[in-house]
Symmetry: C2
Subunit: 327 residues, 2 copies
């Protein structure tokens, strides 16, 4: 790809062309050395046109009904005149049911709609899934005119941090039932939720639903929310679309308040130095392990550490010595 | 310091000499280039003698009574024939009341005891406190014969991850009262707790204590514990030493079970590759920003990112370009 092609891609992307957007994200995610400069140029072009969306995290364990919820929520966004883009944060390997692509049947209303962009989840990626350039993809979606970005995640491991760094508001999906059924919610994720939507509310007794909501309200009352507010717990059903409009209204009202008061801007800014450091450390790591000899040595040391043969400290020292010599 | 001095330091450390241990930790924490090789050698010598302790995280917000609790818990450990070492994870700047050193009055029984090692909290540190080599300090303590390592932390920000990566079991201290008073507990920390000790149990009505414990049991029931168990909620008083022996017994029984079943070893091993990657990225970052020109450029870009003048992506790109040129 040369500079002219990047310029052409950018023009089409700015026109809201979803194929161009998909190609752009592929370019940005590429680890090929030759693509990196072009990706950087494309992002630089998009930056002045980015930032004008509401960035929403949608999280919940597999089986909670995220795809069906996103389908219903996305339709509600469309009805309200928005253009939603859906990006998956986690590598598909961590999911039970495969990538969003596989879930497209559960998002069929949405995926057929011309005003919606859906990006399937990445197929793995180095650094335990950390390599996905979700934030840059988000900037591209914004430049393409998508004004509601939904970051879908199963909320495991690193993705909690990603969601916290990249979103304005977070919706956690839960299912009604005994408390034990919530055990699957991974550590930390409940505490970054601004809203907890108890999904599949139509499928259980009113008493079970009430108890679940009561339990959740109890729990969030004890936990701090990242916004300083207590998370709101609401019932919904993606199938019958019950409660979806109410939730959307709640989300939009909160977002509008935070936009007006400057809280949104403040939150984004407070995350920005962390984002820089995270990006820089990741790029440094990539730069260094781009050398085959370094990468091979790292593989050997990681295997030794995993088997208990070597302490992480020893392995790190050996790697640094190697890098100092090689650099 | 030369090699002979390192050898002498190691010998004294192995004899359990607390002054030698303190000097060793200072050496390991040193950012002076000349100290790094010696530090690495000292740690390498200590490694074969490390790992034989129970690594306990003690966490809770300022004001919850951590120092007084550690004083009482440490005395109970001594009575049971153990040698406790206490290390603070967080930089003192994040604490309300100053470093452990300042808290020594609240640990006076402990700090006067010849079988106890107390390391004051670090005085800041680069990378937002991440620079402290807590894990290496822990290895030194183990080599010096301390068999119960208490990592004290206020449970904010990165320290949750540190505690999760480095400990076998975690005790979270809470105070009795309304749920709102627990709001200070930072995100994620409740979910890595194996035990929640409701401190100052002697200072409130039985009804208030019961309600707090009920609320906490409710909350932990809804959250996953990292061990797959639900955290145990127990009352205690550091002043009257009520409940301390019972808590210690609970902790020791759990630890013994996990040691026998291999769960402890498995947990430590599963964290080890993360520890290597974390250490390596940190060292790489330090290696690169060790160049004055790089460090100055980073400061400039961070300021721009903080003020919103530059996007983190742009800043990262600019830094990488600079580093590629410089390397």
């Amino acid at each position: 790809m040369d500079r002219e092609l990047v310029a052409a891609l950018f023009e089409r992307l700015r026109d809201g062309d979803r194929t161009a957007l998909a190609r752009s994200i592929t370019l940005v995610e590429s680890t090929l050395e030759g693509d990196r400069e072009h990706a950087a140029e494309l992002i630089a072009r998009c930056l002045p046109h980015s930032g004008n969306s509401l960035r929403l995290g949608i999280t919940g364990i597999p089986g909670v009904g995220k795809s069906t919820f996103i389908n219903a929520f996305g339709l509600a966004l469309l009805a309200a005149g928005h253009r939603p883009a859906i990006l998956a944060v986690d590598p598909s390997s961590t999911r039970s049911g495969g990538s969003i692509l596989g879930d497209k049947t559960r998002m069929q209303d949405l995926s057929a709609h011309p005003e919606v962009f859906i990006r399937p989840s990445p197929t793995g990626g180095e650094l335990g899934g950390l390599a996905r350039r979700t934030r840059e993809s988000m900037l591209l979606c914004e430049a393409a005119g998508f004004d509601r970005i939904l970051l879908e995640t199963v909320g495991t491991g690193q993705s909690e941090l990603e969601v916290d760094l990249m979103t304005d508001l977070v919706i956690l999906l839960a299912i009604p039932g005994a408390g034990d059924e919530l055990q699957g919610v991974k550590r930390g994720i409940m505490e970054i939720a601004d809203f907890i939507a108890v999904n599949k509310a139509d499928q259980v007794d009113a008493a079970v639903l009430e108890r679940t909501m009561g339990d959740l309200r109890n729990a969030v009352h004890l936990l701090p929310s990242r916004s300083g507010r207590t998370a709101k717990v609401v019932p919904c059903s993606s199938i019958t679309a019950t409660g979806i409009d109410e939730l959307l209204k709640l989300v939009e009202t909160t977002a509008a308040e935070e936009l007006a008061s400057g809280v949104q801007e403040e939150r984004r800014r407070s995350r920005s130095v962390s984002l820089l450091r995270r990006d820089l450390t990741r790029e440094l790591f990539r730069l260094i392990t781009g050398k085959r000899s370094i990468k091979e040595a790292l593989d050997v040391h990681e295997a030794k550490v995993r088997s208990g043969e070597e302490d992480p400290f020893q392995a790190s020292q050996a790697m640094i010595t190697l890098i100092r010599k090689g650099v």
